[in-house]
């Protein structure tokens, strides 16, 4: 089979392409599409930014384990092993962990905006250091709370993982403002003279002022509208308040909100369902729980297709997107050293459903190749779970599950130790591994081609 390749690749690339075998049309399209996408500077900026925040995300995810699983009020280990708790030592660990978390994963967006603004400015040959710092200031200005109680405080939601999309868009915009309103920084090394600090500052004075003023405007808007109910609030309200009587309606609702959550998480935004399971139990789940407690069984509960029975039990192991399947897939098939290293490091947080290390390290975020399995694996798991519940092969999860319970055990605990549910969890993991495997292979091919094109200087 011969393929015609885009003209942008030179002779040696053509040779390399021939060595890569595409298994089918979809794979070919996806790989070539991704390669084309990677030519855009915005895509490059996003990728480099994600690499920049990866170590902080990984570190933060380890701290988060300590924070929610070990010492959290409703955490898994505190619940299952209550004797471990010792007030004084607990408080100390809690304080330390909170500090470490808040200033690693908790302000990951601040680091991201630094990267996004810096790399964009660098691409346009502007002062990248100042652009990055302007980005940090702008994000913090936008996020600043106009509070009379705490004089120096920020809305914590936007600073963490959930603000990533905003931070990246904002960072790129600031880099672009630098391009529009300032001239390129002279290359002092080439000129041979020492850089004049004053000159350098004044070149970038205009974009800094413009960026900060725009940030001020946004900040005012956010603080004014904070009292109003934001769209996200409406969707959350819909997810927890709207209840459908028919099982089909419930099934539909759970799937829609799950897919919404998955797509949003893929773009570094927040969805309706959290993978930590901290959101309010909806009314249907409560009805289920009462039923199960009265009848002493989880079988035949009135609402079998709630988010806790499908999404939380079968679609979140490893974190949003069933990424435990991805880790196992990488460990089995990936020859690539980088992938392997990230996957090994991400094992421990992922066991407790904290996937942020993997999301930024591979990266999964904004990575078109992984968009398909990221949605497909959870949806496939949920579909099978729904079928199994409908066919009475296993009971739905209705009992309370502590926060940070390892993914494969959620259904087991949520059904009060039903062996069918445990076996089914293992089955769904195996299936998600199989779903992820071909995409891992594709991602490796993309990486090889991309590295080569970088070496050849095509980019």
């Amino acid at each position: 089979m011969r393929y015609t390749f885009p003209d942008i690749y030179n002779e040696s690339m053509q040779v390399f392409f021939m060595r890569i075998q595409f298994n089918n049309k979809l794979e070919e399209k996806l790989i070539l599409g991704t390669l084309k996408l990677q030519k855009f500077f915005i895509y490059r900026v996003i990728q480099r930014t994600l690499l920049l925040i990866f170590p902080f995300a990984l570190f933060g995810s380890f701290v988060k384990i300590i924070q929610t699983v070990v010492i959290g009020k409703e955490g898994f280990l505190t619940d299952v092993f209550p004797d471990l708790s010792n007030d004084f030592i607990y408080r100390q660990i809690d304080n330390i962990a909170t500090g470490l978390y808040n200033l690693s994963l908790g302000w990951i967006s601040v680091i991201a905006i630094f990267g996004a603004a810096k790399y964009t400015a660098k691409h346009f040959n502007r002062d990248d250091q100042l652009a990055g710092i302007t980005g940090v200031s702008s994000l913090l200005i936008i996020d600043y709370t106009y509070s009379k109680v705490q004089t120096f405080s920020f809305h914590p939601q936007i600073l963490g993982m959930r603000g990533l999309l905003l931070a990246i868009i904002l960072g790129i915009s600031i880099g672009w403002i630098f391009k529009k309103t300032s001239r390129p920084v002279p290359d002092y090394v080439k000129l041979g003279g020492a850089p004049s600090v004053i000159e350098r500052s004044f070149i970038s004075a205009k974009p800094i002022i413009v960026s900060l003023l725009i940030a001020m405007l946004f900040s005012t808007l956010i603080n004014v509208t904070y009292y109003a109910e934001a769209p996200g609030n409406y969707i959350n309200a819909l997810a927890s308040e709207y209840t459908s009587k028919s099982p089909l309606g419930q099934l539909f609702k759970t799937f829609i909100f799950s897919i919404y959550t998955l797509v949003m998480s893929f773009f570094g935004w927040s969805g309706t369902y959290s993978s930590a399971g901290t959101e309010k139990m909806d009314t249907l789940s409560t009805v289920n729980l009462n039923y199960a407690l009265n009848k002493h069984t989880a079988w035949n509960t009135p609402n079998p297709f709630t988010s806790s029975a499908l999404y939380h039990a079968f679609a979140t192991f490893g974190g949003t997107g069933a990424v435990l399947g991805l880790i196992i897939a990488i460990l089995i098939v990936a020859k690539d050293e980088d992938f392997q290293t990230v996957a090994r490091w991400a094992i421990i947080p992922s066991l407790f459903n904290i996937g942020s290390g993997l999301m930024t390290g591979i990266p999964i975020l904004f990575n078109i190749i992984f968009l398909i399995p990221f949605i497909l694996a959870p949806v496939a798991n949920m579909t099978m779970a729904a079928l199994a519940i409908q066919l009475r092969l296993m009971p739905p999860s209705v009992y309370p599950v502590p926060i940070g319970t390892p993914g494969p055990l959620i259904a087991f605990i949520g059904t009060n130790g039903s062996w069918q549910a445990l076996i089914f969890s293992i089955l769904t993991i195996v299936i998600s591994v199989y779903i992820y495997i071909p995409f891992v292979k594709m991602a490796i091919k993309v990486k090889e081609l991309d590295n080569l094109s970088l070496e050849e200087g095509v980019n």
Binding site: T98, K148, V149, K280, I332, Y399, G417
Partner: protein, 295 residues
């Protein structure tokens, strides 16, 4: 054949470690979930700790509108407010709305028949129980804080003694303002019929509840309506039964019976003890725990 290639894979040990981890944690989880489901009648994962308020006689469910507005403005908080009115035929009408994700909303329960007098208050306590069960069923919280103004405090006391016996539900703090436990009687040694009835059932007062009682005084003796001695008589009910019983005397500007809930002193006390400034109440919006949960 396939397993052999897998075993050669250098990541085999990681996969085995993962499997071991699940098995090791799976066994205690199994034991825990068995025990949890049998011992707990139900533990809802609710982050909500509402503040439930009862106005005094001849006031409607709108009595605390200004208080909520002031608290929200002064402290930069965003508590939502739902007002319930229980009618004489036991039906409930609602006004206002609870915002999704509000961890500390306000509920105000008013009564169509809001007249004074022991027989009316007994009726109101029964109506309150209807309203309380309605919001309990709808919002599924495991703990709440309470405020009662004037006779509202009597309704709380009757409710706690007669109707509140839910082991899944905790009342953390109760704050009452100018509650006449002995009606207009100044002398604490003369017990009215109502006080005697309340003392008789004092064993039912939840022993993990912290109670703050505020008495207003102008000219040393009363707040213009309720005598200091009548508020003070609450000690015969709560002392030794509630976890803590604190009596606060409020004087100065706006210490009059009806004005008290608009006084700055009261609002500070209310915010500190009932809403919590992040130290007393782990569920308050600016405390650490909820900051983690909101991530």
């Amino acid at each position: 054949m396939h397993t052999r290639t897998l075993r050669k894979n250098k990541n085999f040990k990681y996969l085995v470690a993962m499997l071991l981890f699940f098995i090791i944690l799976g066994i205690p989880s199994y034991i825990w979930t068995r025990k949890n489901v049998t011992t707990l009648a139900g533990r809802y994962n609710s982050p909500m700790t509402p503040i439930i308020m009862i106005p005094g006689s001849s006031a409607s469910a709108n009595r605390f509108d200004d208080l909520v507005k002031t608290v929200n403005n002064k402290y930069g908080e965003h508590h939502s407010l739902l007002k319930l009115t229980v009618h004489t035929d036991d039906s409930i009408t609602y006004s206002g709305k609870i915002r999704a994700n509000d961890t500390q909303p306000f509920f105000v329960v008013g009564f169509q028949n809001n007249a004074d007098g022991y027989s009316n208050i007994k009726k109101q306590a029964r109506w309150f129980n209807i309203a309380f069960n309605a919001i309990k069923k709808r919002y599924r919280f495991n703990s709440f804080n309470a405020l009662g103004h004037s006779n509202g405090g009597l309704i709380w006391t009757m409710f706690l003694e007669n109707d509140f016996n839910d082991s899944n539900l905790n009342i953390n703090q109760l704050l009452t303002v100018g509650t006449p436990y002995n009606f207009e009687e100044k002398n604490t040694s003369n017990h009215t019929q109502m006080l005697n009835d309340l003392i008789k059932k004092r064993d039912k007062i939840p022993n993990n509840m912290t109670y703050y009682s505020i008495a207003g005084t102008q000219l040393y003796s009363d707040d213009g309506i309720v005598p200091l001695g009548s508020v003070d008589a609450g000690k015969y009910i709560y002392e030794g039964k509630a976890k803590h019983y604190t009596l606060i005397t409020l004087t100065g500007n706006k210490a009059q019976h009806s004005d008290m809930i608009a006084s700055n002193q009261f609002i500070t006390i209310f915010h500190q003890y009932i809403i919590g400034n992040g130290v007393n109440n782990p569920n308050s919006p600016d405390s650490k725990q909820s900051a983690i949960a909101s991530q």
